[in-house]
């Protein structure tokens, strides 16, 4: 058994866990549940992209996409959390 087949099986398991997280993103009782579920889905996507890159045998391209995706996901989660905390998008320090 080649190792790329094992990587494909691992990617399928990560996709299954993303589907399980999607349930919480749809039916979270509060809005914070949805934000957290979307953040978790984003980080899992940033991990599954290099696996797909190794499967397609072009990992250099896919790892750059994965790094930028992780950065955007982190900044987006922080901005949404601060918006929910303050109730406005931008306010000067008091």
């Amino acid at each position: 058994m080649d190792i790329l087949d094992l990587f494909m099986i691992a990617g399928i398991f990560v996709a299954i866990s993303i589907v399980l997280d999607l349930y919480r993103a749809f039916s979270g009782p509060t809005v914070f549940d949805r934000v957290m579920a979307v953040s978790v889905i984003g980080t899992k996507t940033a991990v599954i992209i290099p696996i797909i890159g190794f499967l397609f045998e072009r990992p250099g391209l896919f790892i750059d996409i994965s790094l930028s995706y992780a950065l955007l996901n982190f900044v987006g989660t922080l901005i949404v959390a601060k918006y929910l905390e303050r109730g406005e998008l931008w306010s000067p320090y008091t």
């Binding site: 691992a10 914070f32 992780a70 982190f74 989660t77």
Partner: protein, 102 residues
């Protein structure tokens, strides 16, 4: 298969195990603050294990340096995002869940 590839496959499958367990906890646990435990810690560990497995698949190259940066960024960013969301929920007045008193 080479021996290093066997170690790489063990790391990757350990990471997927932690990821699936974290997802089950994210569905099953009763409260938002309890779900943060399932969302924050096992996912960070699983993602770092998967990226370490990918590093061991192709070690000592420019690619592995980029993968190491990705794992370090996940190690810093994921608990920070979890803490930010938890602090937002606490300041908006979300009451923690308690076991019912008889």
């Amino acid at each position: 298969m080479e021996p290093l590839h066997v170690v790489s496959a063990i790391f990757v499958f350990g990471g997927t195990f932690f990821m699936v367990v974290g997802s089950v906890g994210l569905i099953r646990l009763p409260d938002f603050y309890a779900r943060l435990h399932a969302a924050g810690k096992p996912d960070t560990l699983g993602e770092i294990l998967i990226v370490l497995g990918l590093i061991l698949y192709e070690p000592l190259s420019f690619l592995s340096v980029k993968l190491f940066f990705l794992s370090f960024f996940i190690l810093v960013a994921n608990p920070t995002a979890t803490h930010a969301v938890a602090m937002a929920a606490y300041k908006r007045g979300l009451v923690p869940w308690r076991k019912k008193q008889e």
